[in-house]
Amino acid sequence: MKKIAKAKLNELYAKISESMGLFLPIKRAGEVNYAVWGEGKEVSLETLKTVKSPKNAFFPDSENLMKFKTEGKNIEIIDVRKDYKEEKPFVLFGVKACDYKAIEVLDRVFLADPVDSYYQARREATTIVTLACSKPEESCFCKVFGIDATAPCGDVTTWLDENYLYWQANTEKGEALTALVADLLEEGGEESVATQQEATKAILEKLPFSALDLSRFKPENLNDLFNDPAWEEMSEACLGCGTCTFVCPTCQCFDIRDFKTSEGVLRYRCWDSCMYSDFTLMAHGNSRTTQMQRFRQRFMHKLVYYPSQNDGLYSCVGCGRCVNKCPQHLNIVKVIKTLGGKNDD
C-alpha cells in the first residue's frame, strides 16, 4: 500500500492532468458534482454524496450521436464517434463504493449485446479510482446490496483520513496510473486503513436502513408486486419530476432527439425519466397514463425487472440520493419497507 499527504493532493491532480483527463467531485456554486479538474477548482473528496452520481462520465446528460446533412432529397450521415475515440484517456477519481457498483449495473445494459459503442469508448478510456467511505450517513444502505463501503473495488482503491490519502492499485490500469504518479507516493498506511475500516464498519452496522428485507423482490413475485394496492398510496404525493432519476447512479433510460443547427441536424441522446408523463407517449396512446403507473415502473424496474434479467443483481445500490433529494420524500426505502414487509402475509 502507498500513501500521499493530503496537502500534496493538488500535485497529484496536476500530475494526472498532464497526460489524462481528471474527473472528480468539484464544488461549484455551493454544490458538489463530478467535473473536470483544473487549477483553482475546489475539490471536495470529503463530500459523501455528490448531487449527481459519476455516471455522467460514461453516460453524459447529453451526447451527440451523429449528424445529418440534408441537401434536397439526399441525406448524408456523419459519424461523430471518432471525436470521442480521439479523446484522451481519463481518470474518474473518488468514486464511492455504491457508485462503483452502479457502474457495473450500467455496464450490464450498455455493454450487453449489441454493445453501445459510445459508452464503451468512454468506459475503456477510463481508470477508476475509488474512495472508501469513512462517514456514512443515515440515508445510506449500500450494505443491503452486499456492498462494502470500506473496501470498494476499481482500478485503484483509496482511503482518506485527516492526513493522508492511502492508495492501493488493483488492476493493470491501476498499476499504470500508480507508476505515473509514483514520485508523489510513499509506502505505508496499512494500519491506518485497517483502523478506519473497522470504525466505519461499526457505523455501517448501526445505520437505520442496514437491515432492509429484500426477500420478496424476486422475479416469481413480479405480478403480485405489480398488482399490490399499496402503489396507489405510495405514489400519491409524487410530483412526476425527474429528480430521483437524475440523481440516481443506476438510472439509464434515455431519449434520442434531433436538434436543427445551421449546419444540418444533430441527433443526440439525453437522459430521460420514466417519471415523465411523455416517457411512453405514442401517437395513438400511452401505456402508462397515471403517475402511479410511472412510479411503479421505476421501482419495479430497480427491484424486480432488472434483477430478473441480470442474474438477481438489483439496480439499486443504496446510495440514498433519492432519500435525500425527493422533494416530497418518497423513495425506494419506503417502497422496500412497504412491499417487502408483506412477505409472510
Partner: protein, 325 residues
C-alpha cells in the same frame, strides 16, 4: 408543535368520523423525523401516520387540483403561504372551492434538513424551536442552532397571513419579521451586467432539468407544458449548453409572472439548490415597481398584472431608466 399536531389530528378524526368530509389532506410520517410526505387520509385508521411538525414545508395546494374533482368534500390543512396558492388556483378555476374545507394551520417557519445537515449534523432525531434558536437532537446528543440558519429559504422572509380559512388551528401567534424579501434581488440588480451574468451562469449550470421546480409549482398547472410539447420547438429534456438553461428558467418564471404567490417551493425542491425564487421575485418586484403593488393569491378574484394594462404604462425601452424606479 406537538399540541398543534394533536389538535389537528383530533379535528381530522372528527371530520372523518362525522362524515363531514370524505378525506383529509395533510402530511404523513416518513422514515426519519424530517421527511414527511403530503398524504390523503380517508379513514380514522389511516390517520395513525398523520404528522405535523417543523419539517412539513411542502405546499399542499397543488394537490387539490386533482383532489377537488373527487366525490365528496375534502378538508385540507393550509399554512399561510399555501393559502395564497390556494386562492390563486381558485381564481384560475383549477380548484373547486366548494369541495374544499380549508383549515388554516399554525406555521412559525419550517426547517430545512439540508441546511441542518450542511452544518455537519447528521442522524437528526428531532428538532424543537426555543425562542430564536433551534434545538436539534441527534443520535450523538443535542445541538443548538440559530433559527435563521435552519429555516427554509422561503420561510426566512415570509410575512404572509392566512388569506382563506374555514376554520383555524393556531396556538401560537407569529411575530412579524423585519425583513425585506427583495433584498437579495436588489443585491443582484446592483451588480454589473458581467457579474450578474456570471452569477446566473454558475447557478444555472448546475440545473439537471429534473423539472421539480416546475412540477411542484402551484402556478404551473398547465395540462401540457410547453416544454413537454414537441410542437413548441422548445421542448427539451436536458440542458445541452448554457442557453437552454436560461431559456427554460426565464420562460418558467415568466409563465407564472403575475400569478406567482412567492410560495418558494421552486427553491425548496431544487436538488442543486439554485435560488430560483430570485427569478420569480424579480418579476414580482418589477410588477410592484411598474404597475403598482400586487400580491398574487390575496384574493380569488380580479385580474392579474399581465392580463390588465393602463394607458400610461412604462415603456419597455424605459425599464432601465430612472423613471421606472
Amino acid at each position: 408543535m406537538k399540541e398543534v399536531e394533536t389538535k389537528m389530528l383530533e379535528r381530522a378524526k372528527e371530520l372523518l368520523e362525522s362524515g363531514e368530509v370524505a378525506r383529509v389532506v395533510g402530511w404523513k410520517k416518513g422514515e426519519f423525523c424530517y421527511d414527511p410526505s403530503p398524504a390523503t387520509f380517508e379513514s380514522v385508521e389511516e390517520l395513525k401516520d398523520f404528522t405535523y411538525d417543523w419539517f412539513c414545508g411542502a405546499n399542499l395546494s397543488k394537490y387539490l387540483i386533482q383532489i377537488s374533482k373527487k366525490e365528496g368534500k375534502t378538508a385540507v390543512f393550509l399554512k399561510p403561504c399555501d393559502t395564497y396558492s390556494f386562492n390563486q388556483l381558485v381564481k384560475e378555476h383549477r380548484i373547486k372551492r366548494e369541495n374544499i374545507h380549508v383549515i388554516a394551520v399554525e406555521c412559525r417557519g419550517k426547517f430545512d434538513i439540508e441546511k441542518i445537515k450542511a452544518k455537519g449534523i447528521s442522524f437528526v432525531t428531532g428538532a424543537q424551536l426555543d425562542g430564536t434558536q433551534v434545538k436539534v437532537s441527534t443520535l450523538y446528543g443535542e445541538e443548538t442552532l440559530e433559527k435563521s440558519d435552519v429555516v427554509l429559504t422561503k420561510c426566512a422572509t415570509c410575512n404572509k397571513d392566512y388569506q382563506v380559512q374555514d376554520e383555524a388551528i393556531i396556538l401560537h401567534e407569529r411575530t412579524k419579521k423585519d425583513v425585506d424579501r427583495f433584498a437579495e434581488v436588489a443585491k443582484l440588480e446592483a451588480m454589473t451586467e458581467e457579474e450578474r451574468f456570471a452569477f446566473w451562469r454558475e447557478q444555472l449550470s448546475k440545473c439537471i432539468r429534473c423539472n421539480a421546480c416546475r412540477n411542484v409549482c402551484p402556478a404551473c398547472s398547465c395540462v401540457k407544458c410547453v416544454f413537454d410539447n414537441p410542437a413548441s420547438e422548445i421542448s427539451a429534456k436536458v440542458n445541452s449548453d448554457k442557453f437552454e438553461e436560461q431559456l427554460f428558467h426565464i420562460i418558467r418564471a415568466f409563465h407564472v409572472a403575475g400569478r406567482c404567490t412567492d410560495c418558494g417551493e421552486c427553491s425548496r425542491v431544487c436538488p442543486q439548490h439554485i435560488p430560483l425564487h430570485l427569478l420569480n421575485r424579480k418579476f414580482i418586484k418589477d410588477i410592484d415597481n411598474f404597475y403598482g403593488e400586487y400580491q398574487a393569491g390575496e384574493t380569488a378574484e380580479g385580474k392579474t398584472p399581465l392580463t390588465s394594462y393602463t394607458e400610461g404604462d412604462t415603456e419597455p425601452n424605459d425599464v432601465f431608466k430612472g423613471e421606472a424606479k
